[in-house]
């Protein structure tokens, strides 16, 4: 793509830049400093604060650089005494219009307004302070809104509608009486807010502030954040963690990270802070039927002895392991090595491994049929899609930063978003294009879509039959009665999906048994409807199912052998089912690593507690196959990381015969 270049001068220096750039963009690119407040790189510029004001020769008034596009021959000045004075006045007015008391502001030291005031050497304010009475809203558990410090830059409003897509925040009233408000003027804590806190992070002042870190430490303590990857779901967002000692203070989105480009969700930003108490939990072993505390070395030796006993009595195949899709790839590898290669165990599988197996089976089927294999789009790619189809689940809750892509597409009318779910999910409420089939009728809905496509000549008999499986035709007239969705709505969706200019993206909830049973047919339908390879996002459990696959920890089939000894490695995992527990009844020796799960208490012989997420470093592969190294944030001598536990277990096992 050849960009048309424009020549202009900035501060007497000739510069060339692509047409369509703003003056601000060119300045930033050329390293010319220009103060800004309302501007934020990923948001639509609005020119609200006028701090970036510049002189443009021939123009009667000064222009805001953030909104003014460059033009051929333009002569721009960015730093004349008059401009500096104008900026100083703007800043002083901002201080006078509201109640800024820096010494008691939680953002003092990190506030952009304050920094600019220092930069412009403002020692006093020439205007009368208005001392307006301004509302303070502390109703939200994590986000404070003290509009005494608001400068009405609307960054929060824009991030909430343009990037999050929640559209909770807005500006009410006008002029100097303007205020930020949620929904119809309700307290933030009672509003439609998703609690992701992106508005809070983007607020340049202490108006929207983090209640948890506020007033806890000096601002200097919040300067050395460590970058790492969120371990909460398979989106794999990049974030920066502020900590002091063993305490996590605050988590900020990483604007430079290609996956989430700064956005975080409630789970990543807030909930993770709660899950970080360094456990004073110590390993336990069962001796003569009673649980006793043990040192790490003792506990691991006990575990190794138990495994060896069983391997000697029943053969090594009687040993196996179950893991949760929540550990690092390195930990998975180490565990796999120990179980399969060192002991010679017969089995390692991941809880929810079925999600991957159904996905792989569906891909193989498409391949066998000679259809293009779907690809998993990145978030920037998803932003270019014109149709979103979300089947089952609520990504706004389960994979929120992905869900936000659909929310913002619907909010800004960039794409038509169809939510197919029996309930009015967060996303369904926001989009209004939702299909609400009766519970369990998703297959009938798919069959209806296939028939509509077939009738319209968009699909061959052969493909239709491959998807539908049954030849007996559905009565579309009565579809609304049987499925709960008006047939016109299905027709509209099918037409749109098969339209040549459509780029659809599908979000399929693989954690749902019913959707999984539909998966091969759904994926076939998506592939047929799409001109190129279909874009499909698998929504799966845990944060590193793909890492488990890579490390060989997802078995080829679900058949669980009868184990006599098992290692259950389930950090951060609570979702165990009675059927699965049933399969463990015959074990004689059980090592439990991870949570202290009451259901397993009576079965286990050794319990090895897992360290919280912030201590575990390693690789996690996200939903689209991007392997990312997550650096550990905290360190401790008192306990071992998951990987270390398996390494020590292996060493203890190998050392065992000599003892």
């Amino acid at each position: 793509m050849s960009l048309e270049m424009v020549t202009l001068t900035i501060n007497d220096e000739e510069v060339r830049a692509p047409r369509g750039s703003t003056i601000l963009e060119v300045c930033r690119q050329k390293g010319i400093e220009l103060p800004t407040l309302c501007h934020f790189d990923c948001l639509t510029p609005v020119g609200a604060c006028r701090l970036c004001t510049v002189e443009v020769e021939g123009s009667r008034r000064n222009m805001s650089a953030c909104t003014t596009p460059i033009a051929e021959g333009m002569k721009v000045r960015t730093n004349t005494p008059a401009l500096r004075e104008e900026r100083r006045q703007i800043l002083e007015m901002l201080f006078a219009e509201r109640n800024h008391f820096c010494p008691v502001c939680p953002m003092s030291g990190q506030c952009e307004l304050q920094a600019l005031a220092y930069q412009h050497e403002i020692a006093s304010v020439r205007y009368h302070y208005a001392f307006p009475k301004v509302p303070v809203d502390m109703s939200h558990p994590d986000i404070g809104l003290d509009q005494n410090r608001c400068i009405l830059c609307t960054r929060c409003v824009r991030v909430c509608s343009e990037l999050v897509g929640a559209q909770t925040l807005g500006v009410v009233h006008r002029g100097m009486h303007s205020l930020i408000a949620a929904d119809l003027g309700v307290p933030l804590g009672e509003s439609s807010c998703l609690s992701d806190g992106n508005c809070m992070q983007i607020c340049p002042t202490g108006s929207l502030f983090d209640k948890r870190s506020a007033y806890r430490v000096r601002p200097e303590a919040l300067r050395n954040a460590k970058p790492t990857i969120c371990p909460e779901c398979s989106v794999g967002c990049g974030f920066l963690v502020h900590s002091a000692g063993h305490i996590l203070l605050r988590i900020d989105g990483d604007f430079d990270h290609p996956v989430n480009r700064g956005l975080l969700c409630k789970k990543g930003r807030f909930d993770l802070l709660d899950r970080n108490t360094l456990p004073n939990r110590v390993p336990q072993v069962r001796r003569n039927g009673r649980w006793e505390e043990a040192s790490w070395e003792e506990a691991v030796a006990e575990a190794a002895r138990g495994v060896r006993r069983v391997a000697e009595r029943y053969g090594p195949e009687a040993f196996g392991a179950w893991v949760a899709p929540t550990m690092t790839t390195e930990a998975f590898r180490q565990l796999h090595h120990f179980v399969r290669e060192v002991v010679g165990g017969s089995f390692v599988d991941t809880l929810r491994g079925e999600e991957w197996r159904s996905w792989r089976r569906s891909l193989e089927r498409l391949e066998a049929m000679g259809l293009p294999v779907p690809r998993i789009p990145t978030i920037p790619e998803i932003d270019t899609a014109t149709v979103h189809v979300i089947v089952g689940g609520d990504p706004v809750i389960s994979h929120p930063v992905l869900g936000m892509a659909s929310l913002r597409a619907a909010a800004n009318r960039k794409a038509t978003v169809f939510v197919i779910h029996p309930d009015r999910t967060t996303l369904a409420r926001a989009t209004g294009e939702s299909l609400f089939p009766y519970d369990g009728e998703e297959r009938t809905l798919l069959r209806a879509a296939v028939q509509i496509a077939l009738r319209a000549g968009k699909m061959t008999e052969e493909l239709a039959e491959a998807i539908d499986g049954v030849t007996e035709k559905l009565d579309l007239e009565t579809l609304e009665d049987t499925v709960g969705v008006p047939v016109e709505q299905v027709i509209g969706m099918v037409n749109l999906l098969f339209a040549p200019e459509t780029q659809a993206v599908w979000f399929l909830n693989l954690t749902d048994d019913h959707i999984r049973s539909l998966l091969p047919d759904l994926m076939l339908f998506a592939a047929v409807a799409s001109e190129g390879p279909a874009w499909i996002v698998p929504l799966t459990s845990g944060n590193n199912l793909l890492g488990a696959v890579e490390a060989g920890c997802v078995a080829d089939s679900m058949a669980a052998p009868r184990l006599r000894a098992a290692l259950l490695s389930l950090p951060e995992w609570r979702g165990i089912t009675p059927q699965w527990l049933e399969g463990l009844r015959e074990t004689e020796f059980l090592v439990l690593h991870g949570e202290d799960l009451p259901a397993l208490r009576n079965l286990a012989d050794v319990w090895l507690p897992a360290l919280p997420w912030a201590y575990q470093g390693g690789t996690r592969t996200n939903y689209s196959g991007r392997a990312q190294y997550a650096a550990p944030i905290l360190f401790t001598e008192k306990a071992w990381t998951d990987e270390e536990i398996f390494r020590r277990l292996e060493a203890a096992y190998l050392a065992e015969p000599d003892r």
Binding site: Q167, G170, L184, G185, G432, G492
Partner: protein, 171 residues
């Protein structure tokens, strides 16, 4: 794309409070006439207010749902224009002119007295829904300043006491 909008009455009507089905239908007709286009919001709000006398939150929520507009946006528009009101109007409306001539002749004192006596600021309504007080820019009666409009009738050369007397006469 022409996907028929699914009637979502079920969602909205359950919480419609005092708004009658007829009024709802009329609002629906107005929205439909504008094809639910977001830029027709002001017209829709206008009609709704003329039907109901004010804009109850339930009505705003309903309009938001049907026109697929976020509540924050609707509320921004409603609060931007002084014409719109989210509280019911009183049975009697008292508009005090605050144009230059009237201001000079003491309109502010009238507003202050009304506030003292009725306990409400301009734009507000007494809790018993008896009076609503408003202010206006010049109403074109400068020679008779200060001017006050009570229930549509212009009263000239008013004093705070005279306004209160007029108001007290109204039930």
């Amino acid at each position: 794309m022409s996907i028929p909008v699914q009637a979502s009455q079920a969602v909205a009507t359950s919480s419609m409070g005092a708004i009658s089905p007829e009024v709802l239908e009329e609002i629906e007709r107005v929205m439909a006439a504008y094809h639910y286009r977001p830029d027709a919001l002001i017209q829709v709000l206008h009609r709704t207010q003329s039907l109901l006398g004010y804009l109850p939150k339930e009505a705003l929520a309903y309009i938001g749902e049907r026109m697929k507009l976020p509540l924050s946006h609707i509320y921004g528009v409603v609060t931007f224009y002084h014409f719109f009101s989210t509280v019911p109007k009183g049975r009697h409306e008292c508009v005090v002119c605050m144009g230059t001539a009237c201001y000079v002749k003491g309109a502010e004192r009238i507003v202050d007295r009304l506030e003292q006596h009725l306990g409400i600021k301009p734009g507000q309504t007494t809790p018993d829904l008896r009076y609503t007080v408003q202010v206006a820019r010049c109403i074109g009666a400068c020679s008779l300043a200060p001017a006050v409009i009570i229930d549509g009738k212009v009263h000239s050369q008013m004093t705070p006491a005279a306004v209160l007397r007029e108001l007290r006469r109204l039930k």
